[in-house]
Amino acid sequence: MVKTRKVSLLHQMKRSWVSYVMLAPFFTLFFIFTVLPILSSAVLGFTSFNMLETPRFVGFNNFRHLLVNDDVFWIAFRNTMIFALVTGPLGYVLMVFLAWFINEIKGILRTILTLLIYAPSMMGTAFFIWFILFSPDAHGYINGFLMRWNIIHEPIEWLLHPDYVLGVIMLVQIWISMGVGFLAVLAGFKTVDRTYYEAAALDGVRNRFQELWHVTLPLIAPQMFFAAIMQLAGSFAVWEISVNLAGFPSTEYAASTIVTHIVDYAQIRYELGMASALAVILFILMLVINVGLRRMFINKVGN
C-alpha cells in the first residue's frame, strides 16, 4: 500500500517535470539567498553569539530570558500588538477604498493621483515630513495650529511624551501603507472584465458600492490576499518610523516594537543569538495571523 503510493508520487513527479524545470531557477536562488539565511538565523536563536566568538548552544535560554526576564520585551510586544491590530486593518481598508476610488477616475489624472499617493512609499524616507508637522515646540505645524485655535495652551511633545508617541507613529504608518499592495489591488481592478459589470447591472446591481462588493472584490480575491499579507508583514515589521520619529530608544520605550528590540540586540548589543530568538518569536506570531487570513480568503484564492 505504502509502496504503491510512493511509486505513484514518483510517477506524478516525473510527469510534472516541466513544472519543476520552470520552478528551478527561482527556487534555487530562493533556497540560497532566503531559506538558508532564515534557517541559519533560526538556529542561531538557540545559541549565544556575539559575532566574534563561535556561537555556543544554549537551548531555550534566549527564549526564557526574553519571556521571563526582559521587561522591554513585553512593552515591545504590547506595542507591536496594538500597533499591528490597529494599523493593519485600518491601513488595509483605506488602501482598498483609495484603490477603488482611483479606479473610478480616468485619464492622466488617474496616473498623477496614483503617483502622489504612492510617492511616500517610493521615497522611502518620506516620514521626515511628519517630524516637521509634529515638532515638539510651538514651531511644529500641529502645535502651532492647535495653539492658534486655542485648543491647547502650550505645545505638546508629540514625539517625546509616552501618551502620544505610539498614536502619532500609527498615523504615519497608516499613511505610508499605500505601497506595493495598493498598486497590486489597483492593477487587479484592471483585470476584471467589463462584461461582468454589465451582467451584474442586469441582475440588479444599482450603485458602485454594490458593484464593488458583489462583483469586483470576489474577482480580485488573489490580489486582496496579496495586499493583506503585505499589510500584515508591514504592520508587524515596523521599526524605521519609530526610530526616526521617536528616537532610539523612545521615551519609556513607548514606541519600542519587537523589531526595534531586535535591532537593539543585533546592532547595538551584538547579541545576535537573542536577536534571532526574537525574530523567531515574531515569525510565529505572524504565522498564526497568516493562518487566520488564509482561512478568510481560502475559498476565494483557489489554492
Binding site: L9, S16, M22, L23, P25, F26, F27, F30, I32, F33, T34, V35, P37, I38, S40, S41, F101, E104, I105, R110, T111, L113, T114, L115, L116, I117, Y118, A119, M122, G124, A126, I129, H139, W175, L183, A184, A187, K190, T191, R194, A201, L202, N207, E211, I220, P222, Q223, F225, I229, M230, L232, V263, A266, L272, A279, F283, L287, N290, G302, N303
Partner: protein
C-alpha cells in the same frame, strides 16, 4: 415574456451609456476624497523639490519654512560641478546603478514569471507547500539575516561583485507572490485549449499568460526598479569602481552641512527615473484593460 422584454430594455439602456451605475455626485465625492489624500501625500515630494531650490540661508532657517522664498539653481549647478570632479568618474557610478537596476528588474520578472505559472496553474506534488513557503519567507524579519547572508555570499565568492545585488533581487518573494496572485485569474480553459492545440508550456506562458498578467509585470517593474535604483550595495560592495549612484550622493552629503542643498538636488534627480517609469508602467496597465475588455 414581459420579464424578458424588461431585460431587453435594460440591456439597451446599458449599451447606450458607457457609464454603468455611475452618478455625478459619487464622482465628485471620489475626486474630492482622493484629491485630499493625494495632496497630503504629495507633501514630502513637494518639500524635497522646494528644498532643492533653496539657497543655503533658507535651508537652515528656524523655524523651517515649507515654501522656497528666493529660488536658486545653485544647488543643481553645485551638484553638476561636484559630479564632474569626482575621484572615480561620475559615469561609473551611473553605469553601476543602471546595470544593477536593469539586470535585477528584468531578471526578477523572468525568473518569477517562470516559477509563478506552475505555482498558479499546474498540479504537481509540492505545489501547496511551495506556495506557502513563499508567504512564510515574507514574514521573517530581515533585520537578523545580515550575518548569515554575508557568510553565504563569502562562501559563494560573490562579495564585492554586482551579482551580490542582482541574484538576491531575482528571487524576491514579493515579486513571485504578486505574479502568482495575478496568474490565478488566467482562465484555465484558455490554457487547456492551447495545450490541445499542441502549444508547449513555455509557449503557453509566453503567448497566453504573460499578455494577460501585464498589470502584474508592470507593477513588479515599478517596485523592483525603485528598490534597485536606491540600492547602496547592501554592504556587499567595497571597491569604489563598483559602487552605486546613491553611495556617490551619500558621499556628497558626508562633505558637511554646506553640501545640504546639493544633496537635496541629488535627491530630486534620483527620483526622476522611477517617476518616469511609473508613468510608463501605469499607462501600460490602463492599456491592458482595453484589450481584455473586448473579449468576453
Amino acid at each position: 415574456m414581459t420579464q424578458s422584454a424588461m431585460r431587453k430594455m435594460k440591456w439597451r439602456k446599458l449599451k447606450s451609456g458607457d457609464r454603468l451605475n455611475r452618478g455625478i455626485g459619487g464622482d465628485l465625492l471620489v475626486v474630492v476624497f482622493v484629491g485630499a489624500f493625494a495632496a497630503f501625500s504629495s507633501l514630502p515630494l513637494v518639500f524635497a523639490i522646494m528644498h532643492s531650490f533653496k539657497p543655503l540661508s533658507e535651508l537652515f532657517l528656524f523655524p523651517p519654512r515649507f515654501f522656497v522664498m528666493e529660488p536658486t539653481l545653485a544647488n543643481y549647478v553645485g551638484l553638476f560641478q561636484l559630479s564632474a570632479n569626482m575621484w572615480v568618474p561620475f559615469n561609473r557610478y551611473l553605469f553601476n546603478s543602471l546595470f544593477i537596476t536593469f539586470a535585477g528588474s528584468f531578471g526578477q520578472i523572468i525568473v518569477a514569471s517562470l516559477a509563478a505559472y506552475p505555482l498558479a496553474k499546474h498540479v504537481f506534488p509540492g505545489r501547496i507547500a511551495l506556495n506557502q513557503l513563499v508567504v512564510f519567507a515574507l514574514l521573517f524579519s530581515t533585520t537578523v539575516l545580515m550575518v548569515p547572508s554575508y557568510v553565504i555570499m563569502t562562501y559563494l565568492g560573490l562579495v564585492d561583485t554586482h551579482l551580490a545585488i542582482i541574484l538576491p533581487a531575482m528571487q524576491r518573494t514579493i515579486g513571485l507572490f504578486l505574479m502568482v496572485s495575478f496568474m490565478y485569474q488566467v482562465p484555465t480553459d484558455t490554457i487547456e485549449a492551447a495545450r490541445i492545440d499542441g502549444c508547449n508550456e513555455f509557449g503557453i506562458l509566453w503567448r497566453i499568460v504573460m499578455p494577460v498578467v501585464k498589470p502584474a509585470t508592470m507593477t513588479m517593474l515599478i517596485f523592483a526598479f525603485q528598490e534597485l535604483w536606491r540600492s547602496t550595495g547592501d554592504g556587499f560592495i567595497f571597491t569604489e569602481n563598483l559602487k552605486t549612484l546613491p553611495v556617490a550622493f551619500a558621499q556628497i552629503q558626508a562633505g558637511g552641512v554646506a553640501r545640504a542643498g546639493v544633496f537635496a538636488a541629488a535627491t530630486v534627480i534620483m527620483m526622476i527615473p522611477p517617476i518616469i517609469l511609473f508613468f510608463f508602467a501605469q499607462h501600460k496597465i490602463i492599456e491592458t484593460m482595453a484589450y481584455s475588455g473586448v473579449k468576453g
